[in-house]
Point group: C2
């Protein structure tokens, strides 16, 4: 499998950011470098490698600049950095991140707890970051993407208005976001809702509709992926070993597991460009960097089925 | 929620048979009685309670007659028993089982290993059991259902011919099966295949198309449920706590978890008639009867979402 082989679905790895951020201990910087390199070597084309937040808040992310600078040396890899505000964006841009991803929450309570801003203030911060990017000498500047968190419900507020989420998406595009995805930060989503919401999102903002960021908190992650695929979603966030969640949402552990997601997609005949054996081997690096940390995944446990064939080798798309 | 409330999807609990059969220790008969009663009280309408096989082969199932006799006293509960052959059927009928379920495997190697019969011989045994049921004085006699195991692949043979599986379904109906479902005994299925196969099954045998029996071996169980729903499947097997697998298929642990399945269906607006709190409470009985046994389930861990509403309470079906 060559790195430039065509793919049907983009798997965006968030483990080095979303995953490590939720773990108290810090993975050593050198191990982060090796992990990210191994993920890229397994065929991942997009990795969210760090968060440009105050090291006082998240000391695990204090080396974000260094990690970005190393990651952008890897060929054919899109390097994402999470930036909560203008200051973070400046750091990420200086380090050379290709894409900035900004957290904006649909739930007012969650937004205040997570980034101490109202949703409207968070949208304004996207506008500020957009202006910063547009003003850069380097061209093209980094792209700005937003995942609307708690888009399917919130552990603080319960149900979240779907109309409000879709209106926010339009406001975010107006503020300058290049893409807007939807995040089930707390594992509240169901397939009917996922299909409806991503269909509405595409109806509202067209090809600026972005990634599905789904959690497996209640075991529903891959079921929701199937629904999102039906709504035309072609980018999925996932975390190796299922590490990560949201530190401010109680009980919200568990991104969908990259290994299990890739297996799902490839089994369905959708090309990801990812080599599952190499991907599974990369799990060992987490264990080296964070000894004893619990990681998840059914495919790594059970192994590949006898006679498993990658989608690309089947020669047809579904 | 009353026991006669209409439902959209039938969840068929297989834990007391498929689950307990795969665990070496035997759950005491009195605990089985209490567990089955608790499951029925939680709203389950169909439970596979035991297997009528040689107690030398599966001593955990030696009390199947006693368990069936107690279970049929529970109002509004359909009591299933697994019978591999005519002798087993006689025992199950004598005990009063409402439904007999027979294992027939599409994979020749798995069939020989599991029941020491070729697939064709297993189909003939269905014909014998049908004749036995038809000859009974009691009317109506028990119904006969078959789940074609390894229908989506086999850990011994690898890929299994889909044409053969569908042809088997027709042969089974001809032999007298009242319903024929498809089983992913080893966790090989993917949603595209599940949708295609259940669509073909319905095309071939119409309303005799039966349950989807899906395993979560590779984490794909609920994703496959979503696909099966789209193909019109309305009965799903599941096991409380995800216990069970197939003792003859290596690495094949893990029925889909009843608790997580019910949550999925109810979240999607599909009425199951099951009370999730009562269902989750019933897990404690497994721990009593089999101390230290590992059980699974994400919804029991994470709890119900804030503001969760049952499908029936929403007042509309999707």
């Amino acid at each position: 499998m060559t790195e430039s082989a065509p793919i049907d679905v983009l798997v965006s790895e968030v483990g080095p950011r979303d995953g490590l951020q939720s773990i108290k201990r810090a993975m050593p910087t050198a191990v982060k470098h090796r992990w990210i390199a191994a993920l890229a070597a397994a065929g991942l084309r997009e990795i969210e490698v760090g968060s440009f937040v105050s090291p006082k808040l998240l000391p695990q992310m204090a080396d974000a600049g260094e990690v970005v600078r190393e990651a952008i040396r890897i060929p054919n890899l899109t390097v994402l950095a999470l930036v909560p505000n203008l200051k973070g964006a400046e750091g990420a841009i200086e380090a050379g991140a290709h894409k900035l991803t900004m957290p904006v929450s649909a739930s007012r309570a969650h937004s205040l707890a997570n980034i101490r801003k109202t949703p409207e203030e968070a949208i304004e911060e996207v506008r500020n970051v957009r202006a910063l990017c547009d003003g850069l000498a380097r061209a093209p500047g980094p792209t700005v993407e937003v995942g609307i968190s708690t888009a399917f419900g919130c552990s603080m507020e319960g149900a979240v208005s779907e109309d409000w989420v879709i209106r926010m998406a339009a406001m975010l595009v107006e503020a300058g976001a290049d893409s807007v995805g939807l995040s089930d930060s707390v594992g509240y989503a169901n397939p009917v809702q996922v299909k409806r919401m991503f269909t509405r999102l595409r109806g509202e903002i067209g090809d600026k509709a972005g990634a599905a960021h789904l959690h497996n908190t209640r075991g529903q992650g891959l079921a929701n992926v199937v629904a999102a695929l039906e709504a035309g979603v072609t980018t999925f966030d996932a975390s190796q070993g299922g590490i990560g969640g949201c530190p401010y949402a109680p009980g919200a552990t568990g991104n969908i597991v990259t290994e299990d997601l890739v297996f799902l997609l490839e089994s369905m005949g959708l090309r990801t460009g990812i080599d599952l054996e190499k991907l599974i081997a990369a799990r060992g690096i987490i264990a080296e960097g964070l000894p004893g940390e619990q990681i998840y995944g059914s495919v790594p446990e059970a192994g590949l089925p006898k006679g498993f064939v990658y989608a690309a080798a089947k020669g047809t798309t579904p």
